[in-house]
């Protein structure tokens, strides 16, 4: 068994850490405060090749692997979870289904600009009455000659309104239920496609989630992804991969909070000595560090499975479950170690704690992860 990263993976990680610290971290607190979406950071990530990290060069990608990509999401989320989720949605939920299910023409037309980072991607599945229960979705697509006409609404659409390319799910056969769901590539600017309110959130405030409306939105039939009726399968497999992204985001948040807590506990003096010399603090930090490392192994293993074309659905669900719980608990402990200061916006740990909560909810709630895991182990 080999736990070592390749030289290439190490170099990619150190390059992204450098970028994250110099170009993402300095504005993280202000962007959180102002709910500002940093397109300029995404443009820069595009130029550096981060937005197409795991995809082949023939489609505009950097030709690396999913472990390097998971480490990229981790490193970015270590300083800014909002930017981390934007990256994850772009790579895992929008680019990947096009890479995996798209025709050569669709890959050249849509994956290439996504991987090169000239266009940003989003993923529209969730609806007001269809969260965990995707079968309750009401968006429809009706074939009309060379076009499909989409009608319906999506919510919580990450990167929505900012992204140029959306993968959107709609029913082409209501009676068939989940088997009647299909996936479509929808471009921003298509008549009938519009965006509603931007959610005001507890955390990941510098990332955007918007309502998406489709009213007689005509898209070329060539934009059908996969086959009619394949949509649910496309959505579920994309989410399997997306879970690795969210797990990596969670890991990054936890790692960031752990580092903050270690640094602060060594500097903060009470009763004449640094608080880290109190076992109550030191043991808490030990538990935090162990949780982070445990999560890291699961996240990297899930990413390794995906890179090596091994089954990764259960692995991704385990990684997401454990890493998001670790993020919540480690950030909460970090705030505790900082005491009153940790509760203020003077320090980043309260932001990290607010950001951590969503990781237990989105890309399949942790209850859904337990359904996936139990389904796999009890089979």
């Amino acid at each position: 068994m080999n736990f070592e990263l390749t030289k290439e993976q190490e170099d990619i990680r150190s390059m992204i850490r450098d970028f994250a610290e110099k170009s993402v971290a300095p504005t993280a607190a202000e962007r959180d405060e102002k709910e500002y979406f940093p397109r300029e950071i995404f443009d820069q990530m595009g130029e550096l090749g981060i937005l197409g990290l795991p995809y082949p060069e023939e489609y505009g990608g950097a030709g690396s692997d999913f472990l390097s990509y998971a480490m990229a999401v981790e490193e970015i989320s270590r300083v800014c979870a909002s930017t981390g989720i934007g990256l994850s949605v772009h790579v895992s939920l929008c680019s990947w289904p096009i890479f995996h299910y798209g025709t050569e023409e669709q890959k050249q037309k849509f994956l290439r600009p996504l991987a090169e980072g000239t266009k940003l991607g989003a993923f529209g599945l969730t609806e007001p009455n269809a969260g965990t229960d995707a079968s309750a979705a009401t968006t429809t697509a009706v074939k009309d000659g060379d076009h499909y006409i989409l009608n319906g609404a999506k919510i919580f659409n990450t990167n929505g309104g900012e992204a140029e390319i959306e993968v959107i799910f709609a029913s082409t056969d209501k009676a068939a239920g989940l088997k009647g769901m299909s996936a479509f590539i929808v471009e921003k600017g298509t008549p009938g496609l519009s965006f509603g309110k931007k959610e005001v959130k507890m955390g990941i405030r510098s990332s955007v989630q918007r309502e998406v409306f489709m009213k007689d939105c005509r898209i070329p039939a060539a934009n059908l992804l996969g086959k009619e009726g394949q949509g649910f399968k496309i959505a579920m497999t994309a989410l399997d991969g997306g879970r690795i992204g969210v797990a990596a985001q969670s890991l990054g948040i936890a790692q960031g909070a752990l580092e903050q807590a270690i640094k602060y506990s060594k500097e903060r003096v009470q009763f004449g000595k640094p608080i880290s010399s109190n076992q109550a603090i030191a043991f808490k930090i030990a538990d935090m560090a162990a949780k982070v490392e445990g999560a890291r192994l699961l996240v990297y293993r899930a990413a390794y499975h995906k890179s090596h074309h091994l089954p990764y659905s259960k692995e991704a669900a385990m990684a997401k479950l454990v890493a998001s719980d670790a993020a919540m608990s480690v950030t909460t402990d970090a705030v505790q170690i900082f005491g009153g200061y940790g509760y203020t916006r003077e320090y980043p740990v309260e932001r990290m704690m607010r950001d951590a909560k969503i990781t237990q909810i989105y890309e399949g709630t942790n209850e859904v992860q337990r359904m996936v895991i139990s389904g796999a182990v009890l089979r």
Partner: protein, 261 residues
């Protein structure tokens, strides 16, 4: 345009700790980096390449592990890298180093511009760049903060403590740059991967047309007597009275007390 960039791998001084007993640097476990001013030199070279086309070759003299520093330069966008490495070069001072690098540059043959950082953060001598130009018999402009190239004319802003001077030179030319000239770019993912796979040629003494007596310790007349931190300059005194007249009176009193006037 053929551009050469001379770089040095140095310990990251931001990470260096001082041994409280012996007062010397603890180099163990300190990460090695590309000398920051050399990164500015590379960025300046890459910007000229972006604008005028051409090729950027990075060279470094150092131990085999200096390949890592060269790889970082390749990842940033340099076209080629050459490591000059031989036991015979060990213990070189700035004279022997510049002699060896000049011999390397002669072997490369064609070049329009040679870039160096103003100095390395470990030795802080700022001598190697200017000495290379002397060995090669070409013109040099040091402490450059802005560059424009027009045909074979190079126009620069040279930084001084009190301002800057505008200087023109003809190619070929050696230029050393200061930090304010630019913000070095990040390596790209593709660049990082390509750099990882790149074969970096290593040139030894046998590859160069050099006089062995001028290499390494033998070719290094510099003797280090002592290394110390220069005393901090104390802050100046500002005399600010209600009127200029009163301030001048106080100043004259102080100068006369100090027997200066």
């Amino acid at each position: 345009m053929e551009i050469l960039v001379c770089i040095k791998q140095v310990p990251d001084t931001a990470e260096v700790k001082i041994d409280p007993v012996t007062n010397t640097l603890i180099r163990q476990g300190v990460p090695s980096i590309v000398n920051p001013f050399d990164k500015n030199a590379l960025e300046a070279a890459l910007q000229l390449k972006d604008k005028h086309g051409g090729k950027v070759t990075v060279i470094s003299m150092g131990p085999p592990q200096a390949k890592e520093a060269l790889r970082e330069c390749l990842a940033m966008g340099a076209d080629n890298a050459i490591l000059v490495s031989d036991r015979a070069f060990g213990g070189s001072d700035t004279l022997a180093t510049s002699y060896t690098l000049a011999a390397t540059i002669r072997k490369i043959g064609t070049y329009d511009l040679i870039f160096c950082g103003k100095q390395a953060i470990d030795g802080d001598t700022a001598q190697v760049g200017p000495e290379i130009a002397e060995h090669l018999g070409i013109a040099q402009i040091t402490y450059v903060a802005k560059i424009e190239v027009n045909g074979d004319t190079v126009s620069v802003e040279r930084e001084y403590e009190e301002g800057y001077g505008v200087i023109e030179g003809k190619l070929p030319l050696l230029i050393s740059v200061v930090k304010s000239i630019n913000e070095p770019r990040y390596p790209t993912i593709k660049g990082t991967m390509k750099a990882n796979r790149a074969e970096i040629p290593v040139w030894t003494m046998a590859d160069l047309d050099v006089d062995e007596q001028k290499l390494g310790l033998k070719g290094s007349p510099t003797q280090v007597r002592r290394i110390f931190t220069p005393p901090q300059r104390t802050e100046g005194v500002i005399i600010q009275k209600d009127t200029a007249w009163e301030s001048v009176a106080v100043l004259i009193q102080k100068l006369s007390d100090a027997k200066i006037i």
